[in-house]
Symmetry: C3
Subunit: 317 residues, 3 copies
């Protein structure tokens, strides 16, 4: 595996799940793969879960790990040719990225959507420059339009908890005080569309996601109807994608908060969220603290999804 | 050992000292214990000695180590239930702490007193939440009311330098320009009260410490009398504990600075301080540079106290 | 090797180059040397290449590595005796540095010129205090007046690419929007003067470097004349050294930018720069993207120069 940015990079999805479950049972069984290999994690944005789980995954595999925090704004990369660099950008990506590649074997990159220019975000400018210029296998640790380590962890968790061969999985928008990128719902849709599940997306009108990720999924604007019979409820906020509202908050309607009443509509569904979560905005205390809440188990699987991806990259070196 | 927050957690104190001295002679003799084990160090406050010594201790034991710096204020944890999280707190501790526990085997936590609410500080809200919710052994890397790795290192140092079976140890308040927590003097008293020493505390009136830590120790308001015949002088500033002055500076009287004249009252005592130290406020240049100053040796034993505690936690996994 | 601050510390320079090339072929062949040894990297200034390459070098050697970032200004060390420390400086270097030495076996220090006091900068106050008080081997990761890991990497790169026994190497000043220290040109001159090369320095009048580093090198104020027949062009900006202009920008003349026209004057020279580089100020896009540009290879050799230096320090422990 040379890049990991979306579900297609995993190839056969059932095989990937099985491999992940194997890794989970035997985390330290692959340490020979990482011997004398270095993982570089580059953060353009802050992180708790991704930072710890990915570092842990690399260490499980016997790798040396290095973390580089690029202070937001402090290290501005010039991306254009021909510019006279006499301003605040101290380095051109065409030097910076190959140099980072010199000092490691595999690179993880976190670079969120900026919400300044939709095209820049959806072209994944920063991530793709790492893929193109670093000379190393590159995986996304959440980029502008996707968070595939999260979605893979989500899928592993659904596999572990599902009670039927083809569970109903509902991705529901929920309110939040700040404008958040679409990376998590995009990748979740990307994965669910390939998984053996009955996948429904529900959100207020105006919150339609990029059709590239929605694909054949059912979109239901009535949250109650969507939740009916669900086996898994995956809550997440995102800001608007569609023009001219890209990056805008259109609603903070707490009628969309996942509550006990909402969960009562489901087939005793499990509650999922990528975390961090705003309680009583996204989900009520009661629901997230209930036995059906598997948010911590889901977070724990971030280590497993990362380790599976890095393991495949090590095997391909 | 499942928690380390005070002297009682060590059990037999002489056995703990002997184990520490054994560790000091053979730092790398226990690397098998930490194989495939991960130490997570969580810092809510900045650190130099604690960060380096604890990380070193974990590495001595063959562990993988991860450091998480929680920028003060940047990552505000909600602690109450029922709150609609539409403000600046992005995550609830009930999710954040179990998730951190997922990615490691042992957690060290640094979280200073905030001096905003005495009850919150003295209930050790943050530390205890890690103990309660992380699912992992937790040790204090200096919390609101105690700094037990420091006090254990102090005790090891006294054991190494004492010339009599039961030395006289004096904890003396000294002036400082800023309001400092009571964590260090609290833990020092906690340990000295259990150790085989003649323990005296001296400070200006109004600086009385929590009786929970002072216990049966002699409190002498005349610094000169306290210092008479001392074998060890342990200087430290702290802000007032007693109401209504909690967290206040009541004195900056440099008559309490530990000087050559003060040390002349002692039994050629060793000078100790946890560092960092303000020269010519806490102690004069002459005293801290004298052969009787053992502040660097004391700091060096921070690695040993941390390694002994982590070793015991590894053994109990 | 107990210190590494300048070319003399390497002893026989050809032997050092050969050792570096040996290390490059067999990076993981010396892991036994670093077992149970700890490298501490102390950064008073930010870093990308140095941080990653030096950490990688330590890990290649099997060492444990720790990084300490001293926020600029946040941790102010008192350096004078007799001062009553009641201001913003929380610790005296005479405690801080020996304590850092307690927790490691080898220390790397980055501490740039401050441009506040020429004497302080050129006495290398911070670096020398680490050498004097840490009790450990100390190497410069760029200090006020030198960047010897960079210059050693430069020399290794020249050795790898040179086509004649004694190539002509030209260090040329080039314009930049900010005032930069002389550390890189100083060390480059220090090394080139000892290497088997024909060394020429060119810069506008007023940009003369410290004679201690220039020594017998030819200084040519006409850049075109200097570049004639060059085999390697090493571009770098620096602020003025000579009084009364120390630390000042005297010129931003883009006639000194290394362009295709300038490179046409050379003997098909390789282009070098320590990075980060301002394009179209220091060098044009065309030149830095040309096959003759070896800036990334040069950066890659930072791992090798660091590993060779740390290896020698480990051997001397």
């Amino acid at each position: 595996m040379k890049t990991y940015t979306n579900v297609k990079d995993l190839g056969d999805l059932n095989a990937a799940i099985q491999e992940a479950l194997e890794v989970k049972k035997n985390r330290f069984g692959y340490k020979h793969l990482g011997e004398n290999k270095t993982l570089l994690m580059v953060f353009f944005n802050s992180s708790l879960r991704t930072r710890l789980s990915t570092q842990k995954a690399g260490m499980n595999l016997g790798m040396n790990t290095m973390v580089l925090d690029i202070n937001q704004g402090a290290w501005k990369l010039e991306t254009e040719r021909g510019v006279i660099m006499d301003g605040d950008k101290t380095e051109h990506l065409l030097e910076a990225i190959p140099v980072m590649g010199c000092y490691c074997d595999i690179i993880g990159v976190r670079a969120f959507a900026q919400f300044e220019n939709k095209q820049d975000d959806y072209e994944e400018k920063i991530l793709n420059q790492f893929i193109k210029y670093s000379g190393r296998p590159v995986f996304s640790m959440e980029a502008a339009t996707g968070h595939p380590l999260q979605a893979f962890a989500d899928l592993i968790t659904i596999e572990e908890y599902k009670k039927t061969a083809r569970p109903k999985v509902v991705l529901t928008w929920a309110p939040h005080p700040k404008a958040l990128p679409q990376a998590v719902p995009n990748s979740f849709a990307d994965f669910m569309n390939e998984a053996d599940v009955d996948f429904v997306i529900t959100h207020p009108e105006g919150y339609e996601l990029d059709p590239k990720f929605v694909r054949g999924a059912k979109v239901e604007y009535d949250q109650d109807k969507a939740l009916a019979g669900a086996d898994f409820v995956y809550a997440k906020n995102w800001a608007a994608y569609t023009d001219p509202n890209y990056g805008q908050i259109l609603s903070k309607d707490r009628a969309w908060t996942v509550s006990t009443e909402k969960m009562a509509l489901t087939n005793n569904a499990y509650f999922m969220h990528c975390l961090p979560v705003r309680r009583n905005m996204i989900v009520t205390d009661d629901v997230i603290e209930s036995p059906q809440s598997i948010v911590v188990q889901e977070a724990a699987n971030r280590e497993i999804s990362a380790q599976t991806v890095i393991k495949r990259m090590l095997e391909s070196l």
